[in-house]
Symmetry: C2
Subunit: 213 residues, 2 copies
């Protein structure tokens, strides 16, 4: 098992992309792939691939390349998704609904088991077999169910109210609420700021504009 | 002007976060801040802040700290958002609607001037004063309007059809379509894979689970 090996946080950030590409290769029936072939496919250097895979014991065989299924399973273990993760979504506006409706999460081991909102008009509405409940029922739901991840897709202002309910009852927060939640040893956090990615794009464009002047 | 200074792509990735924090400080009326104060606020080291700001000529004065407004404007220039960017959204499902409805983009200089979808039931529907149009009208719209960025929030399968229409008519693509669009010198691309961030969160949780065993 790869789980007890040390992998740097830089490599961890790259794992999901490897996971996606290896999953596609596996679905296409590819058994083995060389670092060179994978590097062309993914547009990264072969030496980075070799270094990254060495980190968690994915050693290719000279002339044979990597065993795709083995690597895929090792990375699944590192990502902690082979055993599956349960999630609740708090805030069922457009963004929450878009996450709730994304079929690929289930395929990757993430099950949405609860949906919560403040809007009474939404209570009882069903998405993929899960009913929207009032946020006031969140605490009892988290107590009676085993929930790994809370997805926060509500406005910034509501986070202060919901955070004390969530803390100690989930293992991680996937936070889209335009505020930064600090993580600690008991609670993992991914703060997503979509606008950061848009600003990075704008920066790339500005640099291209300068170059092509 | 900061635009012609060389800033590494690692620093570029960090600029949007600085921009957010400096914007908040500016709104709060803060005139000057030391790297130490900013480092505590942002939870990064003061030396990283000093290094990053030095990259684009944001030199703090010993004992006085940084001029917040000056830094904010320098970073705005680097991000290419002071002059404003125009965008169209192609795909007005839940994710597209959530982006179309996000008020902060406008505040940061990004104006959504066109919305496009394949679903005839949505044609004419208005979001923040912009009407949804058929995708078949996209080409003529891009020809008659100055559009900087195309936001792709449609399914993977539709990208093949839309990409040739977009290429050469916009400067950048903000891509949410679960496929990777390669960038070149004429077209900047940000490929967003929300599930990568979810998998990274799962990985952090797995490592905490191991530590706390």
């Amino acid at each position: 098992m790869a789980e007890n090996k040390k992998v740097s946080s830089v490599v961890i950030r790259r794992l999901p992309r490897y996971y996606r590409y290896l999953g596609d290769l596996l679905s296409a029936g590819t058994k083995r792939i060389s670092s060179k072939e994978l590097s062309e496919l993914m547009n990264v250097t072969a030496s980075q691939i070799r270094q990254d895979f060495n980190c968690f014991g994915g050693f290719g065989q000279q002339g044979y390349g990597y065993n795709v299924e083995y690597l895929y399973n090792e990375i699944s273990d590192l990502l902690g998704i082979r055993k599956g993760r349960t999630m609740v979504i708090v805030g069922t506006g457009n963004l929450g609904m878009s996450i709730a409706g994304y079929a690929n999460f289930k395929k990757r081991g993430f099950s949405i088991i609860g949906l919560f909102d403040h809007n009474p008009q939404l209570y009882g509405k069903e998405i993929n077999g899960v009913k929207i409940q009032p946020v006031t029922d969140l605490e009892s739901f988290l107590t009676s169910h085993n929930v790994d991840i809370a997805v926060l897709t509500m406005p910034k202002e509501s986070v202060r109210e919901v955070l004390p309910i969530i803390k100690g009852r989930v293992k991680g927060i996937w936070n889209f609420s335009h505020t930064e939640i600090p993580q600690d040893s008991a609670l993992s956090v991914e703060n997503v700021h979509l606008s950061d990615s848009l600003m990075t794009l704008s920066c790339k464009i500005a640099r291209n504009e300068l170059k092509n002047k």
